[in-house]
Structure formats: structure tokens, C-alpha cells
């Protein structure tokens, strides 16, 4: 799933924390972050200010049901 533009970063991470299984973010630059990890959440937040980090990035949930938890932040594509 693609990450929507202009999301509220804190709310997004709060929802990630509610997910049952691991949630990965893959940027077009080759980054791969497991957003359930605390360190990754901080890196994700810091990197999000970079111009290309969020553009075209993909969110992959290990558990399909977790996409419903993140529905406000991701879209098909």
C-alpha cells in the first residue's frame, strides 16, 4: 500500500503501535524500516522531513488485518 501525502506523523505512528504484527516502510531510496521498533519510529520521523523519503513509499503489514488499522494513512497503489 502507498503512504498518503501530508499525514499526521504522530497519529500514524500511534496507529502503527496498535497493529498486531510488524509493519514495514519501504522508501524509494531503498530504506526498509520496521515501524514497530522504537528506533525505527524515530528514524522514520526524522527522515520524513527529507524531500523524497515519503514520496512513493510503501507500507507493508505482515498481518493483512492491520491495513484496516492504518486505513486513514494508506491507499491502494
Amino acid at each position: 500500500m502507498k503512504l498518503k501525502q501530508n499525514i499526521d506523523m504522530a497519529k500514524f505512528i500511534a496507529c502503527v503501535k496498535k497493529c498486531r504484527a510488524d509493519v514495514y516502510y519501504h522508501s524509494t531510496e531503498g530504506d526498509s524500516l520496521n515501524l514497530k521498533s522504537t528506533l525505527s519510529q524515530y528514524i522514520f520521523t526524522a527522515a520524513a522531513a527529507g524531500s523524497n523519503f515519503l514520496a512513493g513509499g510503501r507500507v507493508d503489514c505482515e498481518d493483512e488485518k492491520d491495513y484496516a488499522v492504518l486505513a486513514d494513512f494508506v491507499e491502494e497503489g
Partner: protein, 394 residues
């Protein structure tokens, strides 16, 4: 007061309204730090501490904040962030080193972390007392101020997740590379798109060099098995495997391991490609080509080659040219140029040394032959490879 503290200690001041609304901050990197406040549970903890006492809060990443609730005005005031110990860039890089991150992302994270000031606990307690005095005109004993943790990042959990991530990525890369070996193709763009940067993964054992060697020896054995499945002879596969295991064992630093891996993978791949090209050739010509591929670093005399198949020099050269469409001497040159290209890109060997090892004799002859075949000199070819790698990193 906010201005003075910011000037004196580079410490930002933050103000939140009673309804949780963010009002103002004097800190740099506000956008990211506001999210840090929330994901580190600092804001939530500060909201609960409405007791007219200053607090020093430590988040799961050991980033600290001073907070106090201003009852009269219904405001939450925070000072921060700051660190209580000096975290070096090297330590931060080590922590990030195990993760699959681009250079740009590492820079962004380090930029934020390095902007956070470092101070002693005594200094932090002083600022907390100053904040309390400003809000309530009351002197607060610094000894009474305690550190409160808002959560902990489970190191073991972090490591497990990172390693799990790395194992998955490494397994995927290995599968792609071994499939490529079997098919005789190599798609660097695909590997780069998946975040592969030509390095081997490390899993936190104490001896990095030993670990890197073990990883590559295992990968070498997998490559040998893959080329065997692709039809390369057992003798060739084992010869390559043994040669590279010896080279891996001789490596003196981890930086050499990546170089050896690229050379090793390239050579295994070349053998599969050549095998595909050899299909349709007579057994004798295949045997001569294989002999050349194994002995291209030695002076190759025509008499040696004829011994391999039992033909006369005249008959062998004609048969070779008829079946392959090129002269025997051109094929030897092609194999040596191919090896030279591989060494120029994957090693730091002196060009003169490459020229000698590949039996070109003089450097000027090597330059001339290389330019005729490749369209540029060996030095230009090496520089172009370096430029492309630099561009890919950026």
C-alpha cells in the same frame, strides 16, 4: 526566560495549552521533535504530572525533557530536548549500521540527533529549578528533582527486529543472486531497488572480520552449488570455490570482504555465461576454452593448448575459428580483457600489476589493447566505475 535558556544552553522552550494545543517553541527541528514528544510518551507523561513540581523526563531513546505544569495559566511548559551523555556520531552510526537505510536517511536522523545539546544532570536540574522559579516564584531544591522514564526501548527487541529484518533482506538478496547465477544474468538495478548495496550483513558477534569471512565462505559454497546446477563442471566449480575461500581467509580487514565478494560473484557468473556460449561447440573446442579460462593468468602457448586436445596447432586454430567465429588468440585476449575489467572495478590493484598478472607485458601495450577493445583506457574505465558508484550513493 525561554530566550535566555535558548541562548545559554541551546535548549528549546515549548508551550502547550490546556486543551493540548501546541502554542509555541523556540527549538530547531520543531516538526520532528513534536512527533518525538508524542511517540516517546513524553507529552502524555507531562500532562499527568500536574503537581506544581518540575520533572525531568527520559524517553525510550534516552532523550530528555524538563516539564512543569503552570496552574494559573493552564499551560504546560517544556524545556528540551537534551541528552545526559555525549552520544558520538560513531555510536549513532554503529546503531544504524545494522539497519537497511540509505545514506540520505542516515544523514537526516544524525542531523536531528546531533542538534540535541548535551548537559550534565546537575545542569538539567538547575534549569528545572529555574523553570519552577519563573512559574511560581518559589525556590525548588534541585535534589528533589527526579528522573522519570516514559518507557524503554527494549534493546533485545530492537536487535531481534533489526536482525530479523536483515536476515529477511539477506535471504532475499541471496536468492536473487543465486537465481541470477543459475540463469547467467545479473540485474544490478533490481538488487539496488531492493536496497542491496554490495555489503554483507553483520549480526553482532564480537569479531567482525571473522563473521564477515564466515558469511562470505558460506555464500561462496552456495555460489559453487548454483553454478554446478547451471551445468558448470565440478572441477571448475570446486577450483573457484577453493581459490576464493583461500582469498577470503587471507583478508586482513572487513573492507576487503566486499571487494572479494564482488570479484567472486563476477567470476562465477562469467563461467555460467561462457557455458551458455559454449553450447553447440565440439567437445575439443569447449575443452580448450575451459583451459584458457582457468589459465589466463599464465603465459598461454599454443603448444600447451594443443596438448589438451591432441590436435596439431594448424588444425586446432582452424577448427576453433570455424566453430566460434573468432581466432584463438582473440579469445585469449577477450578473456584477459574481461578479467582486467573485473579487477579494475572490484579491486584497488595498481594497473601495472593487473597488466603483469594478465600477461600483457608492458603497461603501454595493455593500455593500447584495452582501449581498442573497450573504447577507453584502463584508468578511465576504473574512474567511470567509481563515478557511477558515487552517483548511485547519492
Amino acid at each position: 526566560m525561554a530566550g535566555q535558556i535558548h541562548a545559554a544552553a541551546d535548549l528549546g522552550a515549548w508551550c502547550y495549552g490546556a486543551n493540548g494545543m501546541f502554542f509555541h517553541s523556540t527549538a530547531d527541528h520543531q516538526e520532528q521533535l513534536r512527533v518525538f514528544l508524542q511517540i516517546g510518551n513524553v507529552l502524555q507523561a507531562a500532562w499527568q504530572d500536574r503537581d506544581q513540581n518540575p520533572h525531568i523526563l527520559e524517553d525510550p531513546m534516552e532523550i530528555h525533557w524538563i516539564s512543569e505544569w503552570c496552574t494559573d495559566k493552564g499551560l504546560l511548559i517544556l524545556l528540551g530536548p537534551f541528552l545526559l551523555k555525549n552520544v558520538t556520531t560513531e555510536a549513532l552510526m554503529n546503531r544504524l549500521g545494522r539497519m537497511s537505510l540509505s545514506l540520505q536517511t542516515k544523514r537526516q536522523y544524525l542531523g536531528v540527533m546531533e542538534s540535541i545539546p548535551v548537559m550534565s544532570y546537575e545542569q538539567a536540574a538547575q534549569y528545572a529549578a529555574l523553570l519552577h522559579f519563573t512559574l511560581y516564584d518559589d525556590e525548588y531544591e534541585r535534589d528533589r528533582i527526579l528522573l522519570e522514564r516514559t518507557g524503554t526501548a527494549d534493546e533485545e527487541e530492537e536487535t531481534q527486529q533489526t536482525v530479523k529484518n536483515d536476515y529477511a533482506r539477506m535471504a532475499e538478496m541471496e536468492a536473487v543472486m543465486l537465481d541470477d547465477l543459475k540463469s547467467g544474468t545479473f540485474d544490478t538495478e533490481e538488487l539496488r531497488a531492493k536496497g542491496y548495496q554490495g555489503e554483507l550483513q553483520h549480526f553482532g558477534l564480537s569479531d567482525d572480520l571473522r563473521e564477515a569471512k564466515d558469511n562470505l565462505i558460506i555464500f561462496c559454497a552456495l555460489c559453487a552449488r548454483a553454478v554446478l546446477e547451471a551445468g558448470v563442471s565440478l572441477q571448475t566449480a570446486k577450483l573457484l570455490e577453493n581459490r576464493y575461500i583461500c582469498r577470503i581467509e587471507r583478508a586482513e580487514q572487513t573492507a576487503d570482504i566486499g571487494e572479494i565478494m564482488r570479484a567472486m560473484y563476477g567470476e562465477f557468473l562469467d563461467h555460467v555465461k561462457v557455458l551458455q556460449e559454449d553450447s553447440g561447440l565440439s567437445q575439443e573446442v569447449r575443452r580448450v576454452r575451459e583451459y584458457i579460462r582457468h589459465h589466463y593468468m599464465e603465459p598461454l602457448e599454443l603448444s600447451q593448448l594443443t596438448k589438451q586436445v591432441g590436435y596439431s596447432e594448424y588444425y586446432l586454430t582452424r577448427k576453433f575459428a570455424r566453430e566460434t567465429g573468432e581466432k584463438l588468440s582473440d579469445y585469449i585476449l577477450e578473456i584477459r580483457i574481461s578479467a582486467a575489467k573485473r579487477q579494475l572495478l572490484t579491486t584497488q590493484k595498481d594497473i601495472q600489476r593487473i597488466s603483469e598478472e594478465l600477461q600483457f607485458g608492458s603497461r603501454s601495450y595493455f593500455d593500447r589493447v584495452f582501449r581498442n577493445k573497450v573504447g577507453m583506457t584502463p584508468a578511465q574505465y576504473r574512474q567511470r566505475g567509481i563515478d557511477r558508484e558515487t552517483q548511485a550513493e547519492h
